[in-house]
Symmetry: D2
Subunit: 347 residues, 4 copies
């Protein structure tokens, strides 16, 4: 960490800053420049100290040299984390495709979609039982019944399941029925929820907040890791920018950046990341080409009548199956493996 | 609501769209242009219908003409909402100043700061007992003890109190000790928390999410109003933009815009909105000039040693008192009243 | 175009609006809803009319149904534009790779880099002779001499050349020496420059402004097309967002979106789009997977000593050659062709 | 300047970096931390060196301690710049109000508006003769005739004039007819234009690019200052954010920030900064409260029929006059003076 002092800071003020640093058992290295004086801190630095120094008079800036997260960092854990759930390994070279509807609606709906996800080669069934909605008058999900429907569909068709949990009190019931818990973009900094996930016993897919920096996403993951749960996937799902033609701007650079900063698997969500069906296929391929460890994609048998209105970004089953055929060819070019189902399966 | 169809949409497809509209008991008015066909919907429209129509094939866009929130809208409630708590009236022409530390630290600290807030003319004491923090290793607040300390300080010095509640399970205890509950920027779309606030029995100050649109903020307020709590204040506290010199970009246009769209009082937070002490004073004045009903400002007796590191944006007591002196002169120019304390009070 | 009037607009005011519309020789279709009245315009609408209507009293909003650009639109020109320059066809299924240094420095430098671009399979040599720089004290390019050096290197090695033109007065000299003229991100709305390019006789690569919407980019292209030059390529090069880890956020959704809205070829610039060498390769692949018609990539033989400081985003020659080998395999998966040079060429 | 090296950089690599620094005649101070090594540079640093160091292998980051601009900096020029034009002094404590139409249309229009600006107490007449427009089919201004019309109106009514210059070749003619030259937001980084303004002999109002940082704005000003023209005003006119309800987000924090970083006067443009007439008045007052040295405001006698469509953000003459009455009361509270015209003047 480095402390930069204002122009012409008096010597006694610099000595005060040094005293604060040394009181914490750290060494202070002083470089006096023409315009500024810079003080380097050496030793194990508590986060609070940066905050303290930043607010001292005459301190113009405090630059952190080391990262604020540790367990999520590749510096700390150089090897890729590979999350094993049943036969599926996430982060280990096998491309993982999660598909399904925005919301679980009926047993028949989720069963039929599960059949189609499996038939296309997907490994995980996605579906929301509880839905976060901007306004209070929109459809809010079918609740615990939806979890049960999805668990049965997953079991029957040999798929893992993933569902979103929105509040700490529902973590246990979601963990009972689903194989993977998903944290939505609006909850990335719901810190009580993150803490609760530290001990939920299930892998977690953590979606990037739509205005969160990479650093904030990794700090959010740190909450879960620090709580004792090592199985966290990071998910890029689009950020909010000035461009409104797409619902969000899918930031694919996040994939190689997060893989470089962290050892955790990185999943891409081209459905929410674009909000437009016709962009899902090219952006899914682009995600894999950029190195994604997996994809989470909305697919619906009747998107015109989905209950959440997210049908506008859901693939039709034949588009989903066609995409997975292409991914089988694309994956090896970037050092991944993926096996789409034989095209003879009837969609 | 208006449905815009793609170029050259076949007539039977348009008839299908009309059938969907009429099935809901609404009228459909069709205008055929050179390039597009536009269908206007007339009647009471359910939110789900917009979503359904948007995802139908050939529908290029759905434009909402009416707002998605109702109780928060000035169309629905033309008169200003005035929130009365004890002697203080918020939204009724009296400028309200809330001051205090980022975090409650000790009984002595909060008592001394309360004395200074009162002495300067402030009406409400602010202070956090539970702190939302980006990383898990930062100071997280002193908890319920802090609520008690603040309640005592407020009572002793004749100030109302406001504190942040971060999770549904803490709503009751916060409502027991504080006069106003604050929802932080990261929780603006924590929908379970919003629902719980609908029945908390306390006025709520709802901070704008740092990437939330006005529309999303008003929809978040709608959750609380729809839950039965009419006493909601909206708070502009800075949005995230490309400019990083300031911690956030305080969007003061939000003040007149929200007052025009809604009847709810609008409070400005120049401390978080700028993140820099030297900007708090000019931006506080600018907020009042733009029409704010109140201000929430961080003040600390020893900002260099605040426990959260937010001291960097906290005013010193004499700056706070000086600002309030200026606000007394400024308020009448924009049709507000404010009474700073006599300058003889010793700071 | 649709005009939406405020709540409870009096009938005579609506009649005034209709009169304005009909005076322009257009038809007005009126739909009266519960809250708003909507007036649809039918006929050939002048851009000025939208502006006029928007500023009339009681007009709440004007929604354009048709696009503001015409020549750039796929509605107007359904077939892909294919730009032929010598043997190279851009936009027709052949992937085009443009490579070279940020700035032309010396004859030896540009000659050696041209040799390496050709050896790797690239078709176009890029290099800046005039450099736009944020501050006045940075290196500003070697000027016309650089154009000559680059033209000779291109000719010798059988490469087309592309260079940036920054100001109208230099269009002619750049067009004399280079095969393609590039408009930089800061000049996307330099309208005099755009007009001048309408008659420059050379294909133009138009970079998206770092804060320009798709619509603004296509309107900028419209200036060039309307000036009589049909050979415009659109280039995504990263937009400015809140994320600062990358220099820009490369918005790959722009590729399929622009190809859908327009018939013009779309090129991706992963070098400026990320600003970090280690991200260029994954984002180049992702660009091709998303459907890009070409890539423009910085490559330097001695990036540590580049004169502009952009070496930090330049590939080393062996990285460039390796990337092009991978693109040869990737292109067919998305329906493109590309031929990297034989790996026996010595880099 | 500080160079931060990657984790575990070998000693010989650090020595190479030091050699580069010392070759430039600078001193290098090395601090070795647990994770990183930090090298401080002492002496007069050329901009190119930062760029060179940043791209060296093992260099993780280069942090500039000093600013990249010099002449624009308050460090270099501690006293406020006061620009004197005739009787008007800008930046010296007198609030300056510039008012007028978006575009000059006819001699009668500009004469009548000039009369009203003067009658209200404004000191400068604004008006565009050349208009930058997003699309090629919009009204582009009346050209040099407009300059003449405006000059005459200004002279007749005793007002200074300001007009936008869009391209280097028009600098001379604009400087002939107008007292102040304005650089529009899209041209803030039109570097040839900036260079030309260095010797134009007129004060320049430089508008912040709608996505420019404070640092970039000050570097753009540096181009003009370095060219020999000391009379530059900085203008905040709204930035592009995710919020689309307003045309731009007026960033009023820019006012105190720029005044702190620089000695140049700061003007606010609440018309373009909001794009909505009803927001101009509150945001004009907020700008003054935040410390602005002046305002530039659109006013039109017939905004419903303005030729550019910007009438939607133009004040009516009586609104303009009323605002200036309020500013007379507001200015002294923030240490400024302003004299609105007597209310007996007939509007």
């Amino acid at each position: 960490m480095i402390v930069i002092t204002s122009n012409h800071t008096p010597e006694e003020r610099i000595q005060e800053i040094i005293a604060v640093i040394e009181k914490e058992g750290l060494q202070a290295h002083v470089s006096r420049g023409n315009d500024r004086t810079v003080i380097g801190l050496i030793g194990q630095i508590e986060p609070k100290l940066a905050e303290h120094l930043r607010q001292m008079k005459d301190v113009e800036n405090v630059v952190k040299i080391s990262k604020s997260y540790k367990l999520a960092s590749r510096d700390f854990h150089p090897e890729n984390t590979v999350i094993s759930i049943g036969d599926v390994k996430i982060g280990g070279g096998e491309l993982v495709v999660m598909g399904g509807p925005c919301a679980v609606e009926t047993p028949e709906q989720i069963d039929e979609i599960a059949r189609l996800v499996k038939a296309a080669g997907g490994q995980v069934l996605r579906g929301g039982a509880f839905k976060p909605r901007t306004g209070p008058y929109s459809f809010q999900g079918v609740g615990v019944e939806g979890l049960i429907m999805m668990a049965e569909a997953g079991k029957k068709h040999g798929l893992l399941t993933i569902t979103e949990v929105m509040t700490p009190e529902y973590v246990d019931v979601c963990a009972e029925y689903a194989d993977i818990l998903q944290i939505g973009t609006r909850n990335m900094q719901n810190f009580d929820l993150l803490r609760k996930l530290g001990s939920c016993g299930r892998p977690v897919l953590l979606k990037r907040g739509f205005s969160a920096t990479y650093d904030e996403l990794l700090n959010a993951a740190e909450y879960i890791l620090a709580g004792g749960n090592p199985d966290v996937m990071l998910c890029e799902r689009g950020i909010r920018t000035f461009e409104t033609y797409t619902r969000n701007t899918l930031d694919l650079s996040a994939i190689p950046v997060l893989q470089q900063l962290s050892h955790l698997p990185v999943i891409s969500d081209p459905s929410h990341g674009t909000g437009r069906r016709e962009l899902v296929e090219p952006m899914a391929k682009a995600s894999v080409a950029a190195g994604a460890d997996g994809l989470i994609i909305e697919m619906h048998t009747d998107p015109d009548n989905s209950m959440t209105g997210d049908g506008v970004q859901s693939l039709f089953p034949d588009q989903f199956a066609g995409l997975l055929q292409d991914l089988e060819k694309l994956a090896p070019i970037v050092g991944k493996t993926f096996k789409a189902a034989p095209s003879t399966v009837q969609v």
